[in-house]
Amino acid sequence: MSTKYKQVAYYPGCALEGTGHAYDRSTRELGKALGLDLVELKNWNCCGAMEVKNVDPKLQTYLSARNLSIAEDMGLKTVMAPCNGCYHNLKKAEYDLAHDAGSQEVTDRLSRKAGHRTYEAGKVTTIHALDWIREAIGEDGIKARVKNSLTGLKVANYYGCMYSRPRHIFPEKDKGPGSESTYKPHFMDDLLAAAGAENVEYPLKTACCGGAHTLSDSDTSTKLVLNLLTTAEACGADVIATECPTCHTGLEMHQVRAEKVFGRKTTVKILYFTQLLGMALGLTARKVGVPENLSDPSELLRARGLG
């Protein structure tokens, strides 16, 4: 166990206050159960998400940079973002500020206009919730704390796209043993295996779910998600573990839509990895926000003695 991430700045982002509220709840409860200190960024703003980035990527860089500067002002060196979109945007801002003079100029201009200090690349490190748990507690630490083992629970780990793409904004990945892989991510697999879960071989871990086009081209998204779901079932999974609110909502929503529109019913359950780890540590399903999920896994969880 490392003390490096014992205390981190917590950037929940907008999704975790809305559709991904269960992820926020389970992340906070998991941190508490593990004795980790999450300090929420004061007066944080949107990371620039889809809406801003689509129109003006430099403005998105500024918005993310402002969050990083808040962490710095709070005396924190690490920002933990559980949402893949936020994580991706903060990492991208860090990259752009280090490599693009235009982004630096816009960020400086807007920071002055907004009346705060300009963030300089390299002052704060952005990590994902997976990095946080893995580094601060580790697999052995999880094993030692398990109260309700996930033994017998077959899990397909779905990472989605923004956790590892594009590769150049994640310089710490693909560095060999111990580092995360963009080809075949495994941090979530490792943590859940430590909690007793049986990870199934899932060949679509990072495959496209059509997320960004879920409203403009719903049928494509539904078909892509349906393939993710049926493949997970074919792999023998009881549960798809997620680590992103957008992936999670997309899987749940299109699971319902696939049945309504295409008459294709799938029964695999979808849970955040923080919910699974929390329950393995003895937290109740309610405590980790399971009742807030769209798909109801209560029967499965009861059968496994969880929650």
């Binding site: 689509n54 060949p203 679509l204 494509t220």
Partner: protein, 155 residues
């Protein structure tokens, strides 16, 4: 290698579906042929994408596989195409897995998983042919609406 030239995306998807519903016995009996067919189907999908963009699909290989060379070709100047990078590699992996041990007890299951990966490739490329921006925003971290916004002087 199975002949798949001239197949449409719908034909390719139908071939994947056929493999998914085939019996274990049928898949096991022709495991190597089916594994080669999966790879060929993947190549055909990428050829369709490249041809639709006015390109000439390469005959080169990367790491010994044309599928990976086609992916590299498709991703040139089109970083969102990396959204299917892992799917291509998974397809190669499942092909190799079957090829290495065609008599393995799980060979039918391996072929079906390969067919699911191939189907994902079909769906993704089909989606990109409908909406070219698929994967652009997320996998390539590129803006979708910047030019429109500039044209309308929003930014």
């Amino acid at each position: 290698m199975a002949t798949i030239r001239g197949m449409s995306l719908d034909d390719i998807e139908a071939r994947c579906e056929a493999m998914l519903v085939a019996s274990d016995a049928a898949l096991s009996a022709a495991a190597v042929q089916r594994a080669d067919e999966l790879l060929a189907l993947g190549e055909a999908v990428l050829e369709i994408w490249l041809a639709a963009r006015g390109g000439v699909p390469t005959t080169e290989t990367v790491e010994g596989f044309r599928l990976l060379a086609l992916h590299r070709q498709g991703a040139r100047g089109e970083p969102s195409f990396n959204a299917c990078r892992e799917s291509c590699r998974e397809l190669v992996y499942h092909h190799n897995l079957v090829r290495l041990d065609p008599a393995h007890a799980e060979v039918a299951r391996r072929l079906r998983l390969g067919a699911m990966v191939a189907r994902h490739l079909v769906l993704f490329i089909g989606g990109k042919l409908e909406v070219a921006g698929l994967g652009e925003f997320c996998c390539a971290a590129r803006p979708l609406r910047q030019s429109e916004a500039q044209a309308n002087e929003i930014v």
